[in-house]
Symmetry: C2
Amino acid sequence: MTAQNQPKPDGTTKPDRNPKQDRSRATRQRLLEAAVACLAEHGWAGSTVSVVAERAGVSRGAAQHHFPTREDLFTAAVEYVAEERSQALRALPTDDREQAVAALVGLYTGPLFRAALHLWVAATDEEQLRERVTELEARVGRESHRIAVEVLGADESRPGVRETVQGLLDMARGLGLATLLTDDRARRERVVSQWARLVNEALSD
Amino acid sequence: MTAQNQPKPDGTTKPDRNPKQDRSRATRQRLLEAAVACLAEHGWAGSTVSVVAERAGVSRGAAQHHFPTREDLFTAAVEYVAEERSQALRALPTDDREQAVAALVGLYTGPLFRAALHLWVAATDEEQLRERVTELEARVGRESHRIAVEVLGADESRPGVRETVQGLLDMARGLGLATLLTDDRARRERVVSQWARLVNEALSD
């Protein structure tokens, strides 16, 4: 617990509202969201701290205060947006597996996945990015798996269940890749509906 | 049937061996294979006709005779290697679905997939590449699906079977992506083994 989050006299843990810290947090958030959008639209080659600062309406100096390097900014951005999306998934009801499968696939078919993909592919060829992206991918992958287990109501103590869930997330990633160049929505919906049925049977055996 | 492939007096259709054509075909093949290896290792930014010509031990002029533009060379290369690999898959026995699933996943976890991925990601951002890669992806995707149906012995007239096979190829693509930065073999083998079982049940219902 940080100093900010000390319990208040009324028993809540609402942080002190410090206008300067609030502004700084809001700036950071704008930068992170602009960075993901920029990466998704223009790829790694077209994504620099300056371009993102301009897009976020923040001075280049302020951007560099928050994120000293390009690698800092873009890895933080992908992690931040992945966390935001994961949090949203946790709110799903767990009694409808088809809805859960569709929501998990949705994690991999929007701008976040496109941004992450550009970052991964760039990392295959850039040493200073590679180690950080590998760590980031491992963290985000573990978190996605944890959430998938939760929203699917899967019992991983049973043999095969862990691999069923992993394969489903791999399929979702593959569907995300298929959507990169063409709008694949109609096919994707049919595949999701069939695989939701297969996953449901496998988890209910 | 081209002039080269007219039946011979002995009844075979072995083409006339024209040493000059043979050399030209061999040069073309060396260029295509070098192009895929180059793309897989260095990505789109590091892949030019000159780099590939040098790697293949071919003069730049000869390379440009075969492939006037960079886009010609790399789209032809991915298509050529994809066809080679598809042909190899057709030779698989169709009575072992786990082996078939593993072989299909193998299509997406080697240098060919890595090369194709670099090309796809570059195409999101380069107009002159985009249209050609979109067409290429559609052709290669249809062919992979056809082969998957064949090696799995799947009956697509039954409801859901087409989507089961499509989802399996999406999963294979996702597993390929997971292997981009880290060696994911042990996990992949467990996922393949479990999903081979689920797909086998779904196709045998």
